[in-house]
């Protein structure tokens, strides 16, 4: 490396380091606070030097399990998220394939409808949806937290964009061999669409994992309460203990982080592909 290049590289590292530091500070605060005894959590929180725990204990983590059924919340969130993701991957990809590759009357108009529906966030329809699920008698169950979210306009659109971009030769070859659309989809298209499946899976999982407003409205039993609601209620449960809240937070984020770390390459590739084509 030439001298000029070395200076440039150092500048890059410096800038990145500073940014990374800023990014990590809240995370480190949460992590270290979760290991501190309660009377030290906030007092030291402002002092940069004390960002790292002087006394290290698992007490807060144990306390979380004592005060709330964290394991149950965790199971609930995992179960609900996985159901939504699994159901969504199937249902939304099938629909997107029909839009992308099949010919049928009304296709283009329905596609426009799907695109318009993408805009509507949950908060805008929460109350009427609440009345709906109440009429159906779904309150305080897992299903009420799963079924309304399986079909997703944004997922359909992501799949659709990706399928459009797939080279047609593979499908053509299969059709010549006599395969019907079902087989083409499951045997050929889907296996070649791993990046978009990964993207949709992860985005959908993240959304469900952090769902707060809807479970608040439709559940009350701890047996079906998911993590974010558990966390919000934990925040209002006297006595207020920041150490416990941090421990709760760390435990809530870790599974998702692990998933991200494991599937990073696919995800980055998948996200990038859709972004570029959008």
């Amino acid at each position: 490396m030439s001298g000029k290049q070395r200076i440039a590289a150092s500048a890059v590292y410096l800038l990145l380091g500073a940014l990374a530091f800023a990014f990590l500070v809240p995370v480190v605060m949460m992590l270290s606070g979760s290991f501190k005894p309660e009377d030290q959590v906030l007092v030291q929180a402002g002092r940069l030097g004390h960002l790292f725990a002087a006394e290290f204990s698992w007490f807060n983590y144990r306390d979380v399990f004592v005060r709330v059924p964290f394991a149950r919340y965790l199971f609930n969130s995992a179960f609900i998220s996985l159901c939504v993701v699994a159901g969504g991957l199937l249902v939304n990809s099938l629909a997107a394939y029909a839009f992308a590759r099949l010919q049928w009357p009304g296709r283009d108009r329905l596609l426009l409808l799907v695109v318009a529906l993408m805009i509507i966030p949950l908060e805008a329809i929460a109350v009427p949806l609440f009345y709906e699920v109440t009429l159906l008698g779904w309150r305080d169950t897992y299903w009420v937290q799963i079924i309304p979210f399986v079909a997703n306009a944004f997922s359909i659109y992501l799949f659709y964009t990706f399928f459009l971009g797939l080279p047609r030769e593979l499908e053509e070859a299969a059709r010549i061999d006599g395969a019907g659309p079902w087989r083409i989809f499951f045997r050929i298209v889907a296996p070649n669409a791993k990046p978009v499946f990964a993207t949709v899976a992860i985005l959908s999982f993240l959304t469900q994992w952090s769902a707060l407003l809807w479970p608040l409205m439709v559940t009350h039993s701890e047996t079906v309460r998911p993590l974010p609601l558990g966390m919000a209620t934990f925040y209002s449960l006297p006595p207020l203990q920041w150490g416990d809240i941090f421990a709760f937070g760390v435990m809530m984020v870790t599974p998702v982080l692990l998933i991200f770390v494991l599937f990073q390459r696919w995800f980055v590739q998948g996200v990038a592909t859709t972004g570029v084509k959008g």
Binding site: Y131, R139, L216, S221, E222, S236, L237, P239
Partner: protein, 398 residues
């Protein structure tokens, strides 16, 4: 199976209620009770959602004056025929007042609340402040301001008062509407409960809230993010209710004083009302539900709960026997405030949810330095509009 909902309060409270339920289940035999704790912050939202969906539990608690909106929505049944006369006669008048609406008793509270100023005696003695002996003897607002000033002069960060700014929600109406009442104003006029303009935003109200705002702006109030301003000794006084008594006593032992709130002109006023039990209209076992209420209202059960949460017992026999509230007990002030009319109930109207939301909004604006008159005007307007929209909340008897 009978479903019971209770708010998730302090740990000790929850343990006592859980134990009470289990003991009742053991004696009762056929119909068993199942208890669900609902987090306090979302309690009203969840009850409202259940009410809309038509699946309220058989027996549930209500947070003070939120009760009236549910009565108005026809969700509760009267209790006077389900409970023994002896119990009804033993209830504190404030409990009866709280649970009655349109001629019937719809709820019963195991305990009532107490609100006051906790203080460290040593800190007050250091500055030579007078210690009020009763609510009639409370500091005037001028005295209070002087005391704040003197305390602040000796305090390194100038913050000498805690008013629980870290709390959210109903606390602000409960804790600070007495300020309005002490100044001669109120949240709404109490004759017809229809008009808030002229009551919540009159000159007395504005000047009272300006006093509060001045304390915050002068730096006398600790933000209390860690909820340890008073227990940690950072402040000399804490404006809060009975639920902090045990924590505060553990922190300061004999140095702890319980004082009335300052007098803003019309006499010291304080809050009342707390969680109360009601039976929903859809319940198939109202008798069993009533039996459980009766069980909870037995003197020793009431005392057990009040020992756990420090609240004022809801029946006279328990007050007399209580070490905290009876006679010369440390919290006798709270009991006295309830029986001698120093405490003012929050407005008994189905419009209460809107009244409290708007007052809370106004409080947040005032606390952040906003114009007091404007904030209170906005609240008054919204409240009156809501009452108009609901045609004055007419009660349709079923």
């Amino acid at each position: 199976m009978l479903h019971v909902w209770a708010h998730a309060g302090q740990e000790a409270e929850r343990r006592v209620l859980q134990a009470q339920l289990e003991r009742f289940n053991q004696q009762s035999g056929e119909t068993q009770l199942k208890l669900t704790f609902i987090p306090e912050r979302d309690y009203n939202a969840q009850v409202q959602a259940a009410a809309l969906a038509g699946d309220l539990p058989d027996l549930l608690e209500f947070d003070g004056p939120y009760l009236y909106n549910y009565i108005w929505q026809q969700h509760l049944i009267p209790l006077e025929d389900l409970l023994p006369r002896a119990l009804l006669n033993d209830l504190l008048p404030s409990i009866v007042a709280q649970g009655s609406y349109a001629g019937h008793l719809y709820s019963v509270g195991v305990y009532d609340s107490g609100l006051g100023l906790y203080a460290r005696q040593s800190a007050l003695q250091q500055i030579g402040a007078r210690i009020p002996a009763s609510a009639g003897d409370a500091w005037s607002i001028d005295e209070f301001n002087q005391i704040l000033g003197k305390l602040a002069a000796r305090d390194s960060d100038q913050a000498v008062l805690d008013i629980k700014l870290n709390y959210t929600g109903e606390w602000y109406t409960y804790g600070f509407s007495p300020l309005l009442q002490s100044a001669g104003a109120d949240l709404i006029e109490r004759r017809s409960y229809r008009v808030s303009v002229g009551t919540i935003n009159n000159a007395a109200a504005v000047s009272a809230m300006q006093q509060l705002q001045s304390w915050i702006q002068q730096g006398y109030v600790d933000p209390n993010l860690d909820d340890a301003a008073f227990t940690g000794g950072r402040v000399a006084m804490s404006w809060v209710g009975h639920w902090e008594y045990e924590r505060y006593r553990n922190a300061h032992k004999a140095d702890l004083l319980v004082l009335p709130l300052p007098d803003f002109g019309q006499g010291s006023r304080t809050g009342q009302g707390s969680w109360n039990w009601g039976i929903s209209r859809g319940s198939r076992h109202p008798q069993v539900a009533a039996q459980f209420i009766e069980f909870l209202m037995r003197t020793d059960e009431v005392l057990a709960m009040c020992d756990a949460n420090g609240a004022v017992p809801g029946i006279k026999s328990a007050v007399q026997q209580s070490t905290l509230y009876g006679g010369q007990g440390p919290l006798a002030l709270f009991a006295a405030q309830l029986t001698h009319g120093v405490s003012v109930p929050r407005p008994k109207t189905p419009a209460y949810p809107v009244i409290t939301t708007e007052f809370q909004n106004a409080f947040q604006q005032i606390r952040n330095g906003g114009d007091v008159q404007q904030a209170l005007n906005a609240a008054a307007q919204k409240i009156d509009q809501d009452i108009l929209d609901n045609q004055g909340y007419p009660f349709i008897e079923q």
